[in-house]
């Protein structure tokens, strides 16, 4: 499809801007400060524009059009009512809240921030929450900055953060951005962080251990409380990566288990749309001892029941410009409020049921490196198919031809030819059955007609793309 720039015709105009009702003075703008050339934006009609982006959108798979079992991403249905709710706040300028006397005018949005923080604290078992971080990885970085501030206040400069080798890449990357060196612990045969290696690595130079639980293999680590205890004995803190919180709503609360700092992904667990890569939102929860270090400003509820914005001078500063990705927070607050206690418990139960059903139905056809009850996702390996020359990526591309977005492949890194499937609770048995049937067909094809898999996809606007060429040519904008 042509780029919008290729549809541009010099002199064609699009949407009209507001009419000038004041004298025109732009001629007086100093030449030395003026740009030489206007930015070469496309010159298209409104219909050209609408048709272009409507047709582009049709070149996407999405939750609303296809089953999207991308492991570790929790691609659940995003309820439409939340879009309506978020739109109600479109015109609110956040700076109003910072004006003298301005808080009175924005009690509604401030109450929403405060209530969402209370909801998330109860769900995770933490004492206090900040909604400022704008994505999961941003939450991780914020959390590690809080941990650094905690140690600093105790006169300690610890050097290391421990992560399991199965962790999300963002964990070590976030800890490194906050100035720490990373110690990586291998996975034990039972599918989680090797406890002996962990014990050996723990010492008084370790600032924190970062755990995902259930882990990226979809398994609940039975030693998780022990891991927290070992850290605490050495004076280290424990960090819970909430990427997989969807599995344990109402069942387990990280705070009860012994975690000191957590982040949650509103765009995963709490049903907000993923936007083709964002915006997300990554609120951070802490135990009481870390409250002093939370980012500034805080939304507080006063004794008279009103809400106010307060500076938090002892904290780590500001991690984003205002109150977080508020529009995303509206959707998550709506989701939690609409589902309520029983609805959220049902989320986890049905997510775990769906994942185990898929696992049970597919384990004859695909290797299952860790054959035990899984939580919200299961990780297969295409190792058996790889012996025939068919790799996880070939199976992924075949699924596209059959109308399914592929699962996450080649992650976690500690499983060869990994196929990580997270169906989520919003999919029906019928959808799962059709997906299972196609996965079984793919396994059969791998043996009988491998070329079909190698050629896939054939139904998409483009076939397999040459990624090496992209990295070499490095054309990242239209010349």
């Amino acid at each position: 499809m042509e780029l919008i720039y290729e549809k541009s015709v010099p002199g064609r105009t699009g949407v009209r801007i507001p009419v000038a009702d004041i004298p025109r003075t732009t001629g007086g703008f100093p030449a030395g400060l003026r740009r030489f050339e206007p930015a070469a934006f496309p010159e298209v009609s409104e219909l050209d524009l609408v048709r272009h982006y409507t047709n582009l959108s049709r070149r996407n798979f999405s939750v609303d059009t296809n089953f999207y079992p991308l492991g570790s991403c929790t691609m659940k249905y995003n309820a439409k009512v939340m879009e309506n709710a978020a739109a109600l706040f479109a015109g609110c300028h956040p700076v109003v809240a910072l004006l003298p006397g301005g808080e009175k005018l924005v009690q509604g949005p401030l109450s929403l921030v405060w209530e969402l923080e209370r909801q998330l604290a109860e769900i995770t078992g933490m004492d206090e929450v900040t909604t400022q971080p704008l994505a999961g990885a941003h939450g991780e970085m914020t959390g590690i900055m809080l941990i650094a501030a905690y140690h600093k206040a105790r006169g300690q400069k610890r050097k290391y953060v421990i992560v399991p080798d199965s962790s999300h890449g963002t964990n070590p990357a976030s800890a490194a951005m906050a100035g720490y060196e990373i110690v990586t612990i291998p996975t034990a045969p039972y599918g989680d962080m090797d406890l002996d290696a962990y014990r050996a690595a723990m010492n008084d130079q370790v600032a924190a251990v970062m755990m995902t639980c259930p882990n990226t293999l979809g398994l609940f680590n039975p030693y998780i409380a022990e891991i927290c205890r070992i850290a605490h004995e050495a004076g280290a803190l424990t960090y819970y990566d909430g990427a997989n919180l969807n599995a344990i709503l109402g069942k387990v609360r990280p705070g009860d288990v012994g975690f000191d700092v957590i982040h949650v992904n509103l765009h995963k667990t709490f049903g907000t749309p993923h936007g083709g890569g964002g915006p997300g939102s990554g609120p951070v929860g802490v135990r009481a001892g870390l409250i002093p270090y939370l980012p500034t400003p805080r939304v507080v509820k006063k004794d008279d029941g009103s809400f106010a914005v307060e500076a938090h001078p002892e904290g780590i500063g500001r991690v984003s410009d205002f109150f977080g990705n508020f529009g995303i927070m509206v959707r998550a607050f709506g989701y939690i409020t609409l589902l309520g206690r029983e609805g959220l418990i049902e989320v986890s139960e049905q997510a775990v049921l769906n994942a185990n059903y898929l696992m049970a139905r597919l384990k004859e056809e695909y290797d299952l490196p860790f054959d035990q009850t899984c939580m919200h996702e299961c990780v297969f390996s295409a190792a058996r198919q790889a012996k025939e020359g068919i790799h996880a990526i070939d199976i992924a591309k075949y699924l596209i031809d059959r109308g399914f977005h592929p699962p996450t492949v080649y992650f976690p890194l500690n499983v060869k030819e990994a196929i990580m499937i997270e169906p989520t609770e919003t999919e029906s048995k019928q959808t799962l059955d059709s997906f299972i049937a196609v996965m079984i067909e793919a396994a059969r094809c791998a043996k009988e007609s491998p070329q079909e898999l190698k050629d896939a996809p054939i139904t998409t606007p483009v076939g397999r793309l040459d990624e090496t060429r992209a990295a070499r040519a490095l054309q990242v904008c239209c010349e």
């Binding site: 109003v96 924005v106 963002t170 609805g343 239209c478």
Partner: protein
Amino acid sequence: MGYSPNTPEEIREMLAAIGAGSVEELFSSIPRELRAKSFDLPPGLSEFELMGIMREKASTGGCGITPFIGGGLYDHFIPAAVDHLSSRAEFYTAYTPYQPECSQGTLQALFEYQTAICRLTGMEASNASLYDGGTAVAEAALMAFRITGRHQVVLDESVNPFYREVVRGYLASVAEQVVEVAPLGYGSDFDMLSGTVTGETAAIIVQNPNFFGTVEDFAALAEKAHQHGALLIVCSYPVALGLVKSPGEMGADIAAGEGQSLGNHLSFGGPYFGFITTLKKYIRNLPGRIVGETIDKDGQRGYVLTLQAREQHIKRQKATSNICSNQSLCALRGMIFTAALGRKGFEELAALNYDKAEYARGVLSAIDGVSVINAGTTFNEFVLSLPKPAAPVVERLLPFGVAAGLPLGSYYPEMENTLVVTVTEKRTKTEIDRLASLLQEALWS
């Protein structure tokens, strides 16, 4: 209740296939003692009650107020097509385009966005968006550390104070020094900035127009930075770039900033997007996702995420940044906005902002004891000096439905009697005149 479709009968069939007696049995790997001690949330609601709650909250959402405030976020006109097209569920319910063949919509749109933002800032390479203005400037500083191998930055205090706070937080554990240089006459103190750059400096960070609305030319400062092997980072306001000289035209090495003004609703603080652009030679040092052009096996053009070897999912702690999710949908809105207005419309939009602000400068500085005190040219905001502290005056005008400006005293203690007044194309002559008469009354009656 929620959105789980399976019926009791289907659940029984699924449990039978699994070989489990109950759903609860699937959670048996979780030790008893680790079970939730509490889960105290109210029962659920229907959409109908939920919207009732939401409408009530939005009714005290400050939406009815006429904003003469900015702070880096601007009340601009947004064409209806932006909302409609970005509400295509194929865009907003997809995720990061890891599987390019079924994500060409997102990928091509982001490639178009990267092109638009490069053209706007006068630079050569862009990523597919960052979180917001403050984090984009912070990432730009970290990028300068990687490029120069140095760990000191010079930060102009006329950069948005919110951004500076974010920058300080991001750099706290990695920078050797963040040297802040006080403004002069509500503009940059060029002598001080030049004098502070040394062979240890990774970058100078300036903003144009700055937090006070002043427009300046940083070309000479860019040269000065380059003489010392340092980079120039210019934080920009996209709509201003319809009129104002671009960072690229000034010789900047990195441009970064807040993209909200390009078609994103104010929405009480987000979501918006941060942008970052640079020169081709620095592309491998960019943080975050980058979309690149390539071909498929039949030679057809297509788009993929490229240079992924810089990123956290591959490089882990050695990645250029920890960023994973970005603000893709907001960047898409930005792209649609620039295309809806087009080359000429965008230029006209910037001109109209300037003209409205010039008109407001005229009527406001006609009030006794009130003057505009920026030394130089301003774009669509300016600093108004009052004969008394600004904060109580602003507070007094709020009940009239007017946010008269942002008092500077909370951010620059010595500027107690001043406020920044912002005038976008949406402020009508009637609104501006009313602001003037309300201000006159508040000061003198």
